[in-house]
Symmetry: C2
Subunit: 243 residues, 2 copies
């Protein structure tokens, strides 16, 4: 992902209107939630910081901005009518998000941890004919990456069992974070469950089982996982139970 070629970078302080998002709270209509992306800058990009669990934009709001994670992590999610939540993707440092085809955002975006993002004006079809350092191919590439990721996600959700799902998830995160064998999970069990189509209990049980098998280690410190046996984890992710 290209991260250079920025016209203007300004780090804004933590905004004052957090309004955190709680999934277990009574579900409200996305349109009721004001987008936190207030500043409108033409042809420039700004940096902005979001606190843990702060909403970046809501499902259903007009897509006027897209963004790139600089530090931290962002979760894209959507709600079904009865309150069930599906997490579509986690975006880590370097990832673009919020590129839409339609008028409105199809997912809510929330900062999972304290996060800084680079915000770009507008997002979508009007980017294609754009020339210059950030139009065209970069957007197309980001979009294609989203597509491939969504397709892989569908494969995981449709055809894999709990152990395979969790293994695949850990492996993928380890590769993207690239911090050696110890990975710091930015997200909670609830987030992982909603991403993998499982319950928090099943996620927890799968992790415990992987630990019992000596494939990973779960230190006391919450939100950390140590990879003990990467080949075995890779096999677990693809369905080979034993070897």
């Amino acid at each position: 992902m290209q991260s250079a070629s920025v016209i203007q970078d300004t780090v804004l302080p933590w905004p004052s209107l957090p309004r955190t998002y709680d999934p277990r709270q009574a579900p409200h209509h996305p349109r009721d939630i004001p987008s936190a992306l207030a500043p409108r800058v033409a042809n420039k990009c700004i940096m902005r910081a979001f606190k843990r669990d702060q909403q970046i934009f809501a499902e259903g709001v007009v897509a006027e901005f897209s963004a790139q994670v600089v530090t931290g992590a962002v979760r894209m999610s959507t709600l079904l009518g009865d309150g069930r939540r599906q997490i579509d993707a986690f975006h880590l440092a370097g990832d673009f998000f919020g590129i839409e085809s339609g008028r409105e955002h199809r997912f809510s975006a929330d900062a999972i941890v304290n996060t800084t993002i680079r915000i770009y004006r507008s997002s979508g079809l009007d980017w294609i004919p754009a020339d210059g350092q950030f139009g065209g191919k970069a957007v197309f590439a980001a979009l294609v990456q989203s597509l491939e990721s969504a397709q892989d996600h569908a494969l995981l959700l449709g055809k894999k069992c709990a152990r395979e799902k969790v293994s695949t998830f850990i492996l993928n995160l380890a590769e993207r974070l690239a911090t050696g064998n110890t990975i710091e999970l930015p997200m909670s069990r609830m987030d992982i469950a909603d991403y993998l189509g499982l319950t928090i209990e099943t996620v927890s049980r799968s992790l415990t089982q992987l630990q019992r098998d000596g494939i990973i280690d779960l230190p006391c410190r919450r939100g950390a996982i140590v990879l003990k046996n990467r080949p075995a984890l890779r096999r677990a992710a693809n369905g080979n139970q034993g070897f």
Copy 2:
């Protein structure tokens, strides 16, 4: 989807090398299967007919072509190592498919029924700077549609139960085929099951249950479904059991 603006349309006869795809056959490596897309035409598009179950291109082969369904239906699928098959999407008349970002196709494409497709030279990033009637925005739009469809699919696979999955599927197909209340399923129960992340038995049971509830009707003629109560079907697709 735009279907106009075609430089040259030539209908080729049924090709002579069918080599049909059987999912229950011993899984072979995709790369071993020759792509049926032999003809190479520069900047033109040709029409070509494929028989029921004939492969259009294989997962893993170099993506030199993309295509648009003219009549019939195409299924995009991928195989896991142990033979499990996931169907990513069904493409109906008008849909584009085979647009890839990387060098190789990520999915196999097969004609579900006798199908004619329009084949375009190349597919992917090199299409973006293209000007003219078929470059740029049309490809971008097709890609975006694939993305949204993949995201919806992930939501379905991750958060919905069997009855909801099957209801959603029927509803979606009815809207896309737009043939009133009677829809002719081009695909088998096996295909539906692999698309919805279920088994054929569960698909069958869900259909029977929807019929018993008076929401749909399953005529004797195989592969047909009659929608009796669309609002109820819509509710069933979104989780409301009773009303």
